[in-house]
Amino acid sequence: MAEPLLRLQGLCKNFGSLVVTDDVTLDIDAGEMHALIGPNGAGKTTLINQISGLIAPDAGAVFFIGNDITALPPETRALRGMSRTFQISSILPAFAVVENVALAVQARLGSSLRFFGNAAAEPELNIPAMAALEAAGIAHRAGVRAAALSHGEKRALELAIALAMQPRLLLLDEPMAGIGREETERLVDLLLRLKGQLTMILVEHDMAAVFALADRISVLIRGRLLTTGSPAQVRADPQVVAAYLGEQME
């Protein structure tokens, strides 16, 4: 079998006496859409933070494209092809929407020690940025200050930033949280289109979306990986139904 794109090996993390990640071992294959579900407080976001490098695990290791990246800072992981969105949208509020994305393009191009020339007028940055905005469906808001966007639009902007990085692995932390029915449908359509082109880990409470999108699903309960399997397997797993899905499906 081919080497997985991402491998989590025995990850552990405690916040004081609270165990938030309990010996998590998981392989994510290239091209896979992997959903991570579980009740609130199960440690899903903490796990995403350990993958993206914002939190260091107490024990265990993270391998990305065959390399141990456990000790690498988030910026290095980003440059190696990992991008993410946040549960609470993380954008540059004072920047124009297009500038938010153009900055991600700039990071990828790696030529930021230029002291002259108006960055805002550079087609080399703006054209890929606009393409990402169009993919995320908010190109019409390109010139607006990011702070003026609605909640749903901010989520779309974050996704555009992530896409502009042309990642190998995209981490999505509750992208549907707090957005409307229509926007959720549009987002599901977009993610379906992206499926196969890049590897994704999706943390989400919207079970309709999860079962529509995921190739495999992992269930996290109190920091521990309960099971990993296909949507059908997970749906039929009595343990999962008892611990989590029961309340979600009602």
Binding site: A96, L103, S111, F115, A120, A142
Partner: protein
């Protein structure tokens, strides 16, 4: 489609011409001031305006750090002092040509900025303020203990620097225009800097450090480069200061001086660059005027600053907007 939209998006909020009015007016006034002074016979105007421009060089550079980088450096006067001492010490050893003194002044400041910046930028927020203050005080006390160079009392610079052996800076009006050119160059350089790719990363770091890290920027490196550049410009300011006063003193790098620079930048309007020039002018002119009225001029100046911070958040540059909002939108909405 994407290209058209990108061009649309690249349009600034204000037409470029309108944004140029205020900076152009400032430099026009500065350029014509010696003429007015000559007609009215008020020589002190030239001295005051020279002082304003000398400090404005440092203030504009500080605005890059504070207004664009979110780095509240409370030790910026250290760079002015280093630049000034470079001129003073070289002069004490008989080296008084600007072709050597100026590069030494700038290089010494940049070196100090590099060495201290590596340490300072490991901290954030209040700790950054404290550690820059600490390094500023450190170099202040070094200066006061430099017995061969006047210690506490400072040292007199024998004469203004020559340029390639020519006494180009000797004449006050000539020196005025050299200072004006330095300020203009500083302003244009910083203006280009903040709009460049580099400046965009610097501004992004102020906005959201986590986001910058997760798109792949090690913001601290860019902040260090900005800190070194601002330090070098502080050195330029110090070079000009030592030449204009023909005197060098540890007081140039006191923490009060660093505080005054921050006040100047805030007074003018953070994150505008030309606001820093206006703020410096306002600060020094008000100081000059009030100290003529009363010995305890700070008693009046203090409340004035409080009013600016409370009611004119955008500083002098934002005053127009503030007033419009005040009249038409009610002060509570401002």
């Amino acid at each position: 489609m994407a290209t058209a939209l990108a061009a649309e998006a690249a349009k600034p909020a204000l037409p470029a011409a309108r944004r140029l009015i205020l900076p152009a007016a400032i430099f026009l006034v500065l350029a014509l001031l010696p003429v007015a002074a000559a007609f009215s016979g008020q020589q002190y105007l030239i001295d005051l305006a020279t002082r304003v421009m000398v400090y404005a060089v440092a203030a504009v550079a500080l605005d890059v750090l504070v207004g664009y980088g979110g780095l509240i450096s409370f030790g910026h006067a250290a760079f002015i002092g280093l630049g000034a001492y470079a001129v003073g010490i070289l002069s004490a050893h008989g080296i008084s040509d600007a072709l050597l003194a100026l590069p030494v002044a700038i290089a010494a400041s940049m070196l100090f900025a590099w060495l201290t910046g590596i340490v300072c930028l490991r901290t954030k927020g209040v700790y950054f303020i404290m550690i820059t203050l600490a390094f500023g005080q450190m170099i202040f006390f070094v200066a006061t203990s430099l017995a061969p160079y006047g210690g506490d009392n400072g040292l007199t610079v024998a004469a203004r620097n020559t340029v390639a052996g020519l006494p180009l800076l000797k004449n006050d009006r000539a020196f005025y225009y050299v200072t004006l050119l330095c300020l203009l160059a500083t302003y244009l350089f910083c203006r280009a800097l903040v709009a460049s790719r580099f400046g965009r990363v610097l501004r992004g770091g102020k906005e959201n450090a986590t986001r910058m890290a997760t798109i792949g920027f090690t913001v601290r490196r860019f902040q260090l480069v900005a800190y070194i550049i601002a330090g070098g410009l502080g050195g330029l300011s110090g070079f000009l200061l030592a030449n204009s006063t023909e005197f060098v003193s540890p007081a140039y790098m006191s923490w009060q001086q660093s505080g005054e620079l921050i006040v100047m930048v805030i007074l003018g309007g953070l994150g505008t660059l030309h606001g820093a020039i206006l703020g410096t002018a306002a600060y020094l002119v008000i100081e000059e005027w009030l100290s003529g009225v009363t010995e305890n001029w700070q008693v009046i100046f203090g409340p004035l600053l409080v009013l600016v911070v409370l009611f004119a958040r955008g500083g002098l540059v934002g005053l127009g907007t503030t007033l419009r909002r005040g009249f038409f939108g009610g002060i509570g909405n401002g």
